[in-house]
Assembly symmetry: D2
């Protein structure tokens, strides 16, 4: 049964495996001080177009979020996130486990605005409450929407004016930067955020996220925090080799474009059948609202998650594509959908 459940259902892109094989018996230093990691870091600095950022390679999104946030905040400071934010809901209280509250903003489309951030600041005014200090956003958001450059500039400006740290979760950043309507670049992120990360696991790597710390005052001693939280891998080369391969040329973006293209095919075909979507997602996760009967029929042939009940007869589902999604499988899904609809 072909799966559209996730963008981490397969292993790694063959070029990445090949890079691991080729580098395999070279002896290197441990703990991220190997030549591959160093080279990958330099390459990323070029792509971001800043020499003064700090870059660290970590194993996964939750790990990156919790280490960055706990390293950046003092004990009484809190993060602000959309109520769809991954740190708020799907990371098992990892930020709270480091001692920090995550303040929630109710949003419609996964994105937050300066006005919403301001409303949090306005209600946190003295030492009987936590002090909001870090704004956490995801691009794309957890429901597939993406930030436009103008939106990010407004958030960034508001954060600077109010002494807030802006942190961008880029677990699926490749898909966002390659989505229709995107006008952001890695260079923009390096300029507009205080820190962000470039997700590898969900875009062709076996494992790995590259955290970029842009604000100098947040860079000090970061490797201590990584070690303390169990994130310094003895064979850090595993992360270095992969990011080096992803960014040696355009592989990272090519993989994201493929994922997006597969989502585009699905999106268009579903739209043509007259169905709407729960969220406006130009990225590699789409949330079509379908009749329950159609869903049940499709579930017999394809794996995917049911996202939410919409009304008695309809639900939204989540379809995720990736670098590994086969076009023939997408076309088969579309054909099976049409066949099912016609047979009713």
């Amino acid at each position: 049964m072909y799966s559209f459940k996730n963008d981490y259902s397969e292993g790694a892109h063959p070029r990445i495996l090949n890079a691991l094989i080729e580098s395999n018996l070279v002896q290197t230093e441990g703990y991220g001080e190997d030549c591959y990691t160093q080279e990958a870091v330099e390459l990323l600095k070029q792509k971001i177009n800043r020499k003064d950022v700090d870059i660290h390679l970590l194993s996964g999104g939750t790990q990156t979020n919790l280490i960055a946030i706990s390293a950046f905040l003092r004990p009484h400071e809190a993060a602000i996130a959309a109520n769809t934010g991954h740190i708020l809901v799907h990371e098992a209280g990892s930020v709270e486990a480091t001692g920090h509250k995550v303040l929630s903003i109710a949003v419609e489309d996964g994105k937050i605005t300066p006005a919403q951030i301001k409303s949090v600041l306005d209600t946190h005014t003295d030492e009987h409450m936590v002090k909001p200090k870090l704004v956490y956003i995801s691009n794309p958001t957890e429901i597939g929407s993406i930030y436009r450059k103008g939106e990010l500039e407004q958030i960034s400006g508001f954060c600077k004016e109010n002494g807030l740290i802006l942190f961008l979760d880029g677990a699926r950043l490749g898909s966002a930067l390659c989505a229709a309507g995107n006008d952001l670049t890695l260079t923009d992120l390096g300029r507009l955020t205080d820190a962000f990360y470039i997700g590898g696991t969900k875009n062709g790597a076996l494992i790995g996220e590259a955290l970029v710390i842009c604000r100098e005052s947040l860079q000090e001693d970061f490797r201590f925090h990584m070690k303390q939280k169990g994130a310094l891998l003895a064979k850090g080369r595993l992360l270095g080799v992969q990011f080096l391969e992803l960014f040696r040329d355009e592989l990272y973006f090519d993989l994201a474009k493929h994922a997006n293209k597969m989502a585009d095919l699905l999106r268009e075909a579903i739209r043509k059948e007259g169905f709407s979507f729960l969220t406006q997602s130009p990225s590699n996760q789409i949330f079509p609202i379908l009749p329950n009967r159609l869903i049940e029929a499709l579930q017999e042939i394809y794996a995917f998650y049911i996202w939410s009940k919409v009304d008695e007869a309809h639900s939204s589902i989540r379809l995720v594509t990736s670098w590994a999604t086969r076009e023939d499988a997408v076309l088969a899904f579309i054909a099976d959908m049409k066949k099912t609809l016609e047979s009713r």
Copy 2:
């Protein structure tokens, strides 16, 4: 320059890379619920000869230690470790960062005894002090020594009598279990400890440690702790595939035997030259005490760590071998040592 600095200087054993390639495009569930992880876990249970243990695959030693210890202890409870213990010294306060004190026992040979544990209990008698609750030991120890079955049985018995949790760090467990003088098996560890882990990273894997939780009362909800600390990998298959390959046959032990054999060659050759050792290590880390001049000469051709100053003219060095250590490199090291000694 050939390196004896570590057992994580290279990538993975070729069979492991091959297993990753072969499984690469199979679609699986995420977060350790894939078929490879499940199969690896079942295989390990067979090797341990217990069906009722819980087994979880994690990324590294520090991560495994901090998650296990913080999951097992209540807030006021403390761990006890030898003063050479990895959690006490070389994990950047990771256990304390989860809120728990680590109490130190001064030891000679890296190993602790029931009498030493008792002396800690005797001085922690009321609520003005922490409550010692978990005994942390490493096998092999951080200085290469290993526990005999009789020693482990005594510690285990003492812990049971005193309501203590016995946790064994097995970052280099393969080397211990294959060392000359060893009489312990995985089955023994399953019987004598409350939890232990089987290190993969330092014995041929790219990454990965298998935590075995033997005591039932410590098993509940463990995946929550993993998630909360950022240790549930989206592509958990990366760990599953590797452990499956390592334990499908005798690969894990074969690799450890090779590492030990390389250490044996070095140890014997050094001993024959009349040098002594800082610690009695039958495992893959040895600590010869050599004249400083010899050390300087060898450093020009080989990479290794200087461990400690012994007297004005002598220091101890650390030589580490692994599954990847080439016999020709070992023989060359020995030859170069002899040549240097003769030329003086």
Copy 3:
């Protein structure tokens, strides 16, 4: 300017000061092992009608909440609270600082129901989310409402069925238990909750809250948690002497009755003028909705907090009475209110 801002604006009831004076030079053990604390604990057990509860005297509400909750929960477990809950909003993230998320339930009247708790459980289903484990309620709530026995029995029953810990914050418990409409007793609380506390600071003591741990499995080693969080006072007698005096006879309830009676006077007088209230509060905090002009006039003569804006011309204010509130001041407030209204 007479203040209705709080029930902690004055020192202690004279009988409490007197008890401190009389006991002052008696030599006792430290850290709560003094005779006064022991006697107070025995007395409270009688009032609760259970010998098997554990009782500890602490310094304040935030301290009591954070120690109890962090002692009761394992690292991945979370508390559930109404969105008005003190731990959620006004304790500076103290629970999160111990590592635990507080899950919010949106409520109207400060109280939560089993159905609302169930909705939280229903959306927290696996290890990617925290595990809801403790239900935090306040009686009276932070907006003055009180729980009826039937309501508390339902919550208690639901918690038992679902393995949840029920913890009741009684910072103003005296006022709740003496309010019109109350049908709960200390004995009921001992039977229906897993733990609760009896607030002293806001009912005539200088300082002090009595935490009652009813569920046996939560009692073990509690003094360790108190010490670790800095709550074991060297002169624990300070707390013991006060609680002994408060519960030696009916003083605790007499003081609460006085506070409630003063609130009743204010409430009735305001109601007679035709004003409504933001919340239905029979306890010592009331939230009348008044014209802004009236509020401004009253603010020139009395101190109180403006609670919230209701519409362009009206706001709610908070008036708090206590054991120390003078009846003549209440009557003067009422007279001044009437005079202001007539003069417009």
Copy 4:
């Protein structure tokens, strides 16, 4: 049975109780923003001779230590303390519970030197270990010895040169500053430390420690940390009134002088009988080494702690005096000691 067990066996000095009575019905703001606390803080700034220090009143020593240290340090930073240090041994792991390791220095006399601090820095060199950042000292130390100005200047200079924070625990500071041989003043402490506290609980107050934060960069947002750890008392006046009374004139020092004088009487009498002492303590805790038979005889009439076994026939005991110690009781103790010795 008269007790020399502690300096917190009685309540408060009568003048303090009187101040509480006199201020009792004055209405004030809560949470330390009352007029008494403000006035006490101003008074203390005058005594310290610095306007730019921040002063906060807290409830006890463990609370003060844990809040200050956790507020001052980033997650990966550690404290350094003598192995007799209160935070290391007798605070139930309270500092570790906030996430920070406490590194131990083995000392003879309770005091630490720059050379000992340097040895800790020299062995903590990279991110695999914690980063030593704060030096914790006590004056008097936990075994009664005191720091001379020259010693403190050396430590202070070393800390400044090495970017370390110097924190002085003054739980019994009054006794130190009034001891024979002392040449330090409050002004010196304000100049030489980054933070220190002035203990009230053990010098005549019911409860209360005054934390003085001298280094400006450590002052920001400190009340948030107090609130988060449960240390902001609703009736903060309880602390303010007491410190105001203690420092309104020379009361604080007069009480300490009395305690020291009582200790002097005991020390001299014991010395005259030919007994030695475990530690050189000029302050209000002394540790005579006495024959076990004498100890047993005295224990029948007086309460005190046996501190340690010295040899088969001798042990050290701890005698503590305070503002409340009666001279007649001291003289009786001395007489009983002599009588016992003569009767043997």
